[in-house]
Structure formats: structure tokens, C-alpha cells
């Protein structure tokens, strides 16, 4: 079948852009009236049309996924096959397979006699509407003629639109090249540093270019991020910027091993129902009022975020929240935003809450107790502040119509298995908390016990689960992410190796000297801290926080070497900025995206960028400001 044969079934006057209907029935009635008015079908059959469409939908939804529905009928009085296309202003529920609401509806009405052509039309339309690029152009089209041309392949997606992301990526790379080659390379360190020589400047330019090729690649082509990391690393090796030994060293194998161990553990604890059990218990104690329940759930989400990882924590607590809301007919949006924000803030509570915490621990030689002393108080106080802010924003939306009955949920948990898993979890937490004490006691290398704790528990899981343990080891870690982390650490390490971070540290300290601050001796410290906190915070709202932190850790190391007072506080500003900044936008952290995906599937509604932004800006601004204030108090107290 030639594509041209379908031209006659589409007509620009049968395409409707941005009409608003509340439900399918309203749309069906509009279609009936339109076909009747245009005399496409006879009056007698038109009267039955709404009933026939409803009958077809009652057999099964004609929603084919990706926000598209294809209602179709064979009719007696229609003269030829016609398609009516509706781009809806407001998506409506269509009970589609992927549970997404529908915003593009294509009606296909065919003559009963044209059976073969009818089937071919259906498959043609289904196929073109499964092409995401065409659908995206149809959704953006300004005129109905444009939609028509896309449907009959008369209008090809323009070269620029087709490769829009590639152009942006290349443009970004060109700008970075000019920045690296003609601006950054001109920066000279004040002392007689080897990094001022042309030999190292050349390496610097390549390292900057390849690091940003990975960062921009992650930003524009997220699903291909591992490929970008691999390419960048290969080029670093082939251009002789680094050697294999240095690359492996920068990959930070202890960090990677620890992350793998935590992921295996989390999978095991989750399968055993440990987290579900803990959260359910909390709700039983605090669940008498909607406000206390919401606040306590946020608190536990943050706690889990700090003790496991943000993604697992949000999956557990948001899953519970969905069940609560379904049972009590409450509003899910405050739970979605509140729990995600609490989890992001909670992920800065401990060393193991966020990959950036683990990376900081191993690369900056920080212990679990260092985290407890430095990031936990700031994170905890900011958490209470966030709970207060969220309750203030959403207090009117937290009414519950039914009381919560959790017995059914609890019955699903195997308590014996939970007890064993809780015991193992406690052993892990104790070993992690006291790792530095044990290391000193046994006179072993720093962080040996930290890494050992993870590996010990993985060993136990493999021993306990016997042949079933392969499931946890193979399916627990997100191997894709692990590989990405290894490439990222190595790429970021090259910035340090080539002296880029020395120059960044120099620029930062020069900028900090101009920072308005009443204590001359702490001007540089507080200025650098504030710039790192807000810089990493705002950037983390749009880009993954790990590349930012991985690139800035060596900068902090250089500032410490430079001897600015209390410079080790800068590590904590990176951690807090990176974690809190994830709340700024709905794409700010993986936990946000995971929770929104769960919400869209569970409630058949879309979540827009703007839905998040109000609470995102308020919470991020106030928590960063609050954290900045706490850092100020801390610095003044310490010095």
C-alpha cells in the first residue's frame, strides 16, 4: 500500500486543534454532530453513533498508549473512509493500556464493504502515531494543515527539528571548546605551577572538553549516558591525557564496591518487607490525624533516604502513600511532592543516603561520624523546616475521608523474615556508624571497615539465600548506573589530574575574597562556601548532582591545600547543595522522576513541570538559605 493512498482519508477540515472536552462522551457527541452536519453519514446512523462508539469502548479501550486513542467503526451509510483527528487541550482518561491520559484522538470510520482498506488504514494510522517524533510535531503544530502534512508524510520533520538535540549538543561543545581554549587556558596560577605550561594547558583543554561531552551527553541523551562516558574516557586514553593506571585509580573502586553492596542489600531488605514494615509501624503510631500522618511519613521518608538510598526510599514510602490515599480518598499531590522533597533532604543525613555522600566519603577521606557531626544536624534541621513549609503550602489539601485500616497491608508481611532482615540491617548500621572507631581499634586502613561492612552483609545474603542469592546480586545493583559512575569518576578525576580544578579553586578563592562579609579572616571561607552551596544547589536542579560534585571535590581539596580557614566545611556545602538542589525542579533528582512515573501510572494523570515549580522554588530557596545560615553559625562558632 502506497502512502499516497491514505491522503484522501485525511482532510485538514477534519482536524481539530486544542478543543476541550471533559470526557469521552462529550467528544463522541461532538463527532456525531459534526458528521451529521457535514452529511458524511445519514441521520439514522448518526443517531446510533455515540452508542456504537461507547459499545466499542466498553469491549475494551481504544487507547493504544503514549496518550493516543484510535476509536474506529465500520458504518453502513458512510461513502468513503474518513479520519477525524482531535488534539485535545486537556488530556482525558481513556483507560489506556499504559494508563496515560489521552490527548490525541483519531477516529476512523469506514465503509463496511471496504474491509481490507479499513484494516490497512487502522494499521497505517497506528504505525505513524507510534512514531514519537511525528506525534511530538503534531502536538506542537500551529495549523491543522501542518498536522495533515505530517500524517500523509508530505511534511517531513525538518532536519533541524529531527536533530535538535544533536545541534544543541554540538553548540554546547563549541562554546565549551572556546571557553576552555581561549579563556580558561589563559588563567595562570600565581605560583610557579607546572599547570601553567603549554604541555598541561593542552591536556586541560582536552579534559574540560571531554568532561563536558559526558555532562551534556547525559543532559540531552540521558538513555545514552553510558555511551558518552565510554567515548570520553576512550578519547582521554587515546590522546594520552591519562594512562590506564591513573584512570583505574580515579574510578574510585572502593566507592563503586560500596554502592554495589548497598544496592544488593536494599534489594534484599526490600524483598523481605523490612522498609514496608517499618513505615507501616510508624503510621500506626502517628496516623490519627492527617497532618501528623503526613509529617511523620515525610520524616520516615527522609530517614529511609538517609539510611538506604533516595530511590528505594521514595518507592517504599510513596507506594504506602498511594495506598493510604486510595483508601482514604485524599489528595496524592502533597504526598508526592512532600515525600520526594523530604527524601532528597534526608539523603544528606548520612554517608550512605546519596551516591554523592559515598563519593565524598571515599574521595575526601570522611567518616560516618564526620557526616553525623556535620551534615546530619543541618539536614535534620532543614528537614523539620521543609516539613513545616510543605504543611503550610498544602494544609488545605490534606483532608482524609476514611480512617486508615492497615491490618490488611500488614498481613502481607512475613514477620519472621522481617526480623532476620532487621537484625542484619542493624548490624550493618552499627558497623557503618562505628567504622572509624573499629578501624582505629584494629589499626587498619581508614574506611576498610566501611567497605567491609557492605561486603560482609553481601556475603551473608549470598550464604543465607543460597541459590536464590543470584537474584539479589544480579538484579539488585543497577549495573547501568554503576558503569556510568565509573566512567564519570574517571572523567572527573582527569580534571584534577590535568590541573583544571587547581585553576577553578584559584578563581573561586579570588571571587570569595570580594565577598561582602563582616569577618575579614572568614571572608574567603564563607564566600567559597556560599558560592559552592548555591552553585551546586541550583545546577543540581537541572543536571545530575554527581557530575557537579565529582568535578568540585578536587576544587575543595585544592582550597584546603591553599590553607583557607575551615576549608573542610566546603565538602558539606557541596553535599547539602547537591541534595537540596534536587528539589528545585521535577527533573532535579532521580527520586523525583521515579515518583512522578509511579504517580502517572497509578492515577492516569500527567504531571507538568509547572505543577512542581511553586513548591520547588519555595522549598529549595528557603532550605538553601536556611542551610547557608546554619553554616554561618557553625563557622562563627568554630572560629
Amino acid at each position: 500500500m502506497e502512502k499516497n493512498n491514505f491522503e484522501k482519508i485525511f482532510r485538514p477540515e477534519f482536524i481539530f486543534l486544542d478543543l476541550e472536552f471533559n470526557n469521552k462522551e462529550e467528544l463522541f457527541s461532538f463527532v456525531k454532530e459534526f458528521l451529521e452536519k457535514k452529511k458524511v453519514i445519514e441521520e439514522e446512523e448518526a443517531k446510533k453513533l455515540v452508542g456504537l462508539l461507547k459499545e466499542r469502548e466498553s469491549l475494551g479501550s481504544t487507547g493504544v498508549g503514549l496518550g493516543i486513542a484510535l476509536p474506529h467503526l465500520s458504518l453502513k451509510t458512510i461513502k468513503e473512509t474518513v479520519c477525524l483527528i482531535f488534539r485535545l487541550k486537556k488530556a482525558i482518561d481513556w483507560q489506556a493500556l499504559d494508563q496515560k491520559p489521552v490527548n490525541l484522538v483519531v477516529f476512523i470510520f469506514s465503509q463496511e464493504r471496504e474491509h481490507d482498506f479499513y484494516l490497512q488504514t487502522l494499521s497505517y494510522v497506528a504505525q505513524i502515531l507510534h512514531d514519537k517524533k511525528i506525534v511530538s510535531q503534531i502536538l506542537k503544530a500551529k495549523r491543522r494543515e501542518e498536522v495533515y502534512e505530517y500524517l500523509v508524510y508530505k511534511r517531513k520533520i525538518s532536519f533541524f527539528k529531527k536533530y535538535q538535540k544533536v545541534f544543541y549538543y554540538l553548540l554546547g561543545m563549541i562554546l565549551i571548546f572556546f571557553f576552555a581554549k581561549f579563556l580558561f587556558a589563559k588563567i595562570k596560577l600565581p605560583y610557579d605551577s607546572p599547570f601553567n605550561s603549554p604541555f598541561w594547558i593542552k591536556k586541560e583543554v582536552i579534559a574540560i572538553l571531554l568532561f563536558f561531552s559526558m555532562v551534556l551527553g547525559t543532559l540531552f541523551f540521558f538513555s545514552q549516558r553510558v555511551a558518552f562516558g565510554g567515548f570520553a574516557l576512550t578519547l582521554l586514553l587515546l590522546t594520552g591525557v591519562v594512562d590506564i593506571e591513573t584512570t583505574i585509580k580515579f574510578m574510585s573502586i572502593p566507592t563503586i564496591l560500596f554502592i554495589i553492596a548497598v544496592m544488593i542489600m536494599v534489594k534484599w531488605f526490600s524483598e523481605k518487607g523490612v522498609f514496608r514494615y517499618l513505615v507501616l509501624k510508624a503510621i500506626q503510631y502517628f496516623g490519627n490525624s492527617p497532618l501528623i500522618l503526613f509529617g511523620s511519613l515525610m520524616f520516615f521518608s527522609a530517614l529511609l533516604g538517609g539510611l538506604i538510598d533516595e530511590v528505594s526510599a521514595i518507592l517504599i514510602t510513596f507506594g504506602i502513600a498511594i495506598q493510604i490515599v486510595r483508601y482514604t480518598k485524599g489528595n496524592i499531590i502533597p504526598y508526592l511532592i512532600g515525600l520526594v522533597m523530604a527524601t532528597n533532604i534526608g539523603s544528606a543525613l548520612t554517608l550512605i543516603g546519596n551516591p554523592i555522600g559515598i563519593y565524598l566519603a571515599f574521595s575526601a577521606q570522611l567518616t560516618f561520624l564526620d557526616f553525623l557531626r556535620n551534615s546530619t544536624p543541618i539536614s535534620l534541621l532543614s528537614l523539620f523546616f521543609t516539613i513545616f513549609l510543605i504543611l503550610l503550602i498544602y494544609k488545605k489539601n490534606l483532608k482524609l475521608e476514611n480512617k486508615i485500616e492497615l491490618k490488611k497491608l500488614e498481613e502481607e508481611i512475613d514477620k519472621k523474615e522481617v526480623k532476620i532482615a532487621v537484625l542484619v540491617f542493624l548490624v550493618f548500621v552499627i558497623l557503618v556508624v562505628f567504622h572509624s572507631f573499629i578501624e582505629r581499634l584494629l589499626k587498619i586502613e581508614e574506611r576498610s571497615m566501611l567497605l567491609g561492612a557492605g561486603l560482609l552483609i553481601v556475603g551473608f545474603i549470598v550464604f543465607y539465600e543460597k541459590e536464590h542469592s543470584r537474584f539479589f546480586v544480579e538484579r539488585g545493583p543497577d549495573w547501568w548506573t554503576i558503569l556510568y559512575f565509573m566512567f564519570l569518576f574517571a572523567n572527573a578525576g582527569c580534571l584534577e589530574y590535568t590541573g583544571v580544578t587547581y585553576k577553578l579553586a584559584y578563581l573561586l578563592s579570588e571571587g570569595a575574597k570580594r565577598f561582602p562579609f563582616f569577618r575579614e579572616d572568614l571572608k574567603e571561607t564563607f564566600g567559597s562556601l556560599t558560592m559552592l552551596l548555591w552553585g551546586s544547589g541550583i545546577l543540581s536542579g537541572f543536571v545530575d548532582n554527581l557530575p557537579i560534585v565529582a568535578a568540585l571535590v578536587p576544587v575543595v581539596k585544592n582550597l584546603i591545600l591553599k590553607g583557607i580557614p575551615l576549608a573542610n566545611q566546603l565538602y558539606w556545602s557541596l553535599l547539602i547543595g547537591g541534595c537540596f538542589g534536587g528539589n528545585l525542579t521535577m527533573i532535579g533528582s532521580t527520586a523525583n522522576l521515579v515518583a512522578i512515573g509511579v504517580y502517572e501510572r497509578a492515577f492516569r494523570k500527567s504531571f507538568r513541570f509547572s505543577d512542581w515549580l511553586k513548591a520547588g522554588i519555595i522549598v529549595t530557596f528557603f532550605t538553601l538559605f536556611f542551610a547557608n545560615f546554619l553554616f554561618l553559625v557553625k563557622i562563627l562558632t568554630l572560629k
Partner: protein
């Protein structure tokens, strides 16, 4: 009514017997095309809609859809719609290769391979 995911294979014609069985047991059928990498979708859609016609005539409840990628996507769909059975062509199941053990471990509902 319980959902059954029926992954069709355009080269087989065994589906009629299976559909009759599902009809008798009053299941809602989710007819799914699952093209392999590089395979055209159009033929699958055509095949899906031609089966749809038969189901419509016999008033059997159904939905149609198309999945690509890994068979694990079908498991996710099964979870999302609380399906009680997955019917899968042998040829698709064999594609799993070494992954089949993981697939079976993640499988929480019965699977029928034809």
C-alpha cells in the same frame, strides 16, 4: 473481569484456539504486538486489528497495544494492570536467552507459552 496479556505472533495461527479458551473463561484480553528490533510495526498492527474484528463480532472484551524492547516490559505491564496470565509465543520466549532465569524469577503470575 481478569486481564490476560496475549502477545501475538504474526506468523502463527494457533491464536484462534487460545481466544476461544479465553472467551469461555470470560477474560479481558490485552492483545499485544511485540516486534523485534528492526521489524516493521505495520504488519503487527494489521494482524492485531484483524484479530480485533473477530473479537468485536463475538463481543469479547479486549484492548490492543504495542510493546518494544525487553520482555521485562511485559512483566511491568502485567503488574500495572494486575494481569492474571501472560500468553507468549515460543519464539519470543526463546529470545530471552540467558535472561530467562531472571524472567522466571520476576514472574509473579502464570505464563503460557505457545
Amino acid at each position: 473481569m481478569n486481564n490476560v496479556i496475549f502477545v501475538i505472533n504474526k506468523k502463527e495461527d494457533i491464536y484462534l484456539g487460545i481466544l476461544n479458551y479465553l472467551k469461555e473463561n470470560k477474560k479481558k484480553i490485552i492483545l499485544l504486538g511485540f516486534p523485534e528490533k528492526g521489524e516493521e510495526e505495520r504488519e503487527y498492527w494489521h494482524f492485531l486489528f484483524s484479530i480485533c474484528e473477530k473479537l468485536e463480532c463475538e463481543k469479547i472484551p479486549f484492548s490492543v497495544g504495542m510493546e518494544r524492547g525487553s520482555l521485562f516490559n511485559i512483566l511491568e505491564l502485567a503488574r500495572a494492570i494486575s494481569a492474571e496470565l501472560i500468553i507468549l509465543p515460543k519464539s519470543k520466549f526463546l529470545l530471552l536467552g540467558e535472561e530467562y532465569e531472571d524472567f522466571l524469577k520476576e514472574l509473579e503470575i502464570p505464563i503460557l507459552i505457545y
